[in-house]
């Protein structure tokens, strides 16, 4: 704690604390984790932008099937994450983030083509990533997608908008618990 505390001024820590859902201690912990991904680079310049390949070495992201999409969502410039992007990500995935923030980011993670709608292809991507090495059969996949659309798509436009997604997810009992990184 002593070493990393000298990296940030009191002002910066205060700012970070107001802008994210983390406490000061957690922010310093996040910095420690960020540094551990590439110690040499971060020591030199704390605002360095680490490439996505280094970010995905973090234990939670390494085993997560949605890691590439998560990095894409939180990276401000598209090809790497600075510490602030990383802090943003950890803040959304922390326990302090309210449900609506998590739902919003979950929507963005599941929206693979970035058009603000979850279409059939997005769903198919999600399911494929979830089941990993063992895939569902084509017929099963189609049936599943059809079922989901039937349940969630209230205005019958064959895509899920954010409001429809929110309507579905907010009823899920474990969503808040599962959509978080354990510090």
């Amino acid at each position: 704690m002593g070493g990393s505390q000298s990296v940030f001024t009191e002002e910066e820590l205060d700012d970070y604390q107001t802008l994210t859902y983390l406490s000061k201690k957690e922010i310093l912990h996040v910095f420690k984790r960020f540094k551990s991904l590439a110690p040499g680079l971060v020591d030199a310049n704390k605002n360095v932008k680490l490439p996505l390949s280094k970010i995905t070495e973090m234990p939670e992201l390494k085993v997560n099937p949605f890691r590439d999409q998560i990095c894409k969502v939180f990276s401000s410039s598209g090809d790497g994450m600075t510490f602030e992007d990383f802090l943003d990500m950890m803040s959304v995935f922390s326990d302090g983030a309210p449900k609506n923030v998590k739902v919003e980011y979950a929507f963005r993670v599941y929206d693979f083509d970035g058009d603000d709608l979850i279409s059939d292809t997005d769903l198919q991507n999600v399911i494929e990533k979830l089941t990993g090495a063992n895939q569902l059969s084509e017929a099963d996949m189609q049936q599943l997608i059809e079922n989901i659309m039937e349940e969630a798509d209230l205005d019958d436009d064959k895509t899920l908008s954010f409001a429809e997604f929110e309507h579905v997810i907010s009823k899920a009992p474990d969503f808040v618990n599962s959509f978080r990184f354990r510090m």
Partner: protein, 588 residues
Amino acid sequence: MTAFIVIPMSLISETPLTSSTNSILNTSYYCSLNYTVVEQKGISYLLDFIQGTGWMEKTLAFHGHYVTNLSGAYNLPLAYILTVLACMLISLAMMARYTSKSFEAALLNSIDTNFEYSNKVFGAWDFGLTDENAAKLKQKGIHYDLQSEMMEQTFMRTRMERLENKCALFKLYLVRTVINLFIIFMLGAAAYAIVKVTSWSTSYASSHTDASGTGKWVLLLVQFLPSITITACNALLPLIFELIVELEDYSQAFIIKITLIRTVFLRLASIIVLLITLYTEITCGPTNECRTTVEPACSDIRCWESYVGQQLYKLVVLDFVVAVVKVFAVELPRKFLAEKCTCGLIQKIGPPEFNITSNVLDLIYAQCLIWLGLLFCPILPGMMVVKSFIIFFVKKLSAMVACPPSEKPYRASRINTFFMIILLLTYFLCAVPVLYGIFGIHPSRSCGPFRLLDYMNEAVENAVEKWPLFLSNTYDLFTSAAFSGTVIILLGMIIYYLNTMSKAHNQRANMLKEQLIMEGRDKQFLLNKLQEQDQKSKEKHKPSPGKRGPQPPPRESEKVSPQRQNPRTNDPDEGSFSPPHVVENPEW
């Protein structure tokens, strides 16, 4: 239990019964002297410990040892009976509380079966996982879950088509009836076997009380024969049930339920049959003045309470031994064989699987034995604590080491309610013999703290009579039939009323749900109309380049740089996502 019964008995000395003018006292004294037990040395010591006979019978372990009159003011019979009743009531209270909580949780979860598939997909992944093996397992679990859901759906669809044909439907019902009859027949056969074995075992044991040498080992085997039969039936028949149920063409969820129900019936049936057999043995034929059964018509049982206690004690011991042996002698070797040996047969049987339902049923069975044995064998709860402790670690070994992690996800919430209901059912089943033993059967004259009474509940009544008149009258009022009848009718009416209210609430919830969906549709309709109007008026006034359809969410406002706005005050009502703000939200 220990505090109120065992400790006082072991600490306070007994005032000896002397002959007096009271005839009951005399009889009891004479009978107690007659109540001797064959005690042998050597290996019999250990055997007797396991069986609960011989020297064990006269210890604190069994009902027979406790006496009616302890020096001092401690009323042992009253304490005995009140402790047993209190234990039963406390168990009931705890179970009722747990069941109601899990009912609530199940009900709240079931409201959202609207979004079953969506939740399965969107809420499936646990983002906090960090271990690669755990992640792979989770993926397999998700795959299995989705696949089985899809299979189930396909199955239901094709079944509808298959059963269009009347002939096929008739055949299916015929098959199901035959199978159900077959299962009832098997249960009956198992019950008959238990009855025969128990009665033969009792007659053999009472006629060979002084066996020696190999005879002793034979006696041991015979003593345990009823318990062994019950355990064997409990192990074999569920396997047969599982094989047969394939023929009945049910959906997957229903198969699980019905196999479970049949297994539960089997376990309850075996206990019921054992109890009935014991009852017929205890109450058979004319009894002499010591209230023991006499030969030649019935086997010689000097102290029926201790006898019943012994049977239950043997069941508990056997249960424990079988559980431990099963893990060490069956599951661990199976695991090693599955890993090392590659021959076809071994691979087909495969490594052992940690079957949650059968383990829970084992626990329920053990608890049932405890409830039955409370009255007759006071150290049984203490024994059970030690046994549970050891079994916990043994089963932990089995689950962590012997069995590979299960790829089938286990839906805890739904099935927990079912298990609690079974536990309650078992409780009431066990309460009947205990209550009948207290209120309906005469205690033996030669043993036990109730030897001077005609019925065990008289201990309470005798104590109440010593109270002041007012309290004693109130007690009589509360236990009279008229009062109890009125209370029962009143409770029945309350249940009926609450049931009606709950149905009305359900209807209301459904109505509100439908209204919600209608609102959504109305809103969509109005928005479409608005958009049309908007476009029409725009086309009229200014030909502008087509507006980009749905508005992107305000991405710029989410950055963490110190210059931007505070995400914590990102009021959900301001964003473009909330339905009430009609104008700003063309995409909804």
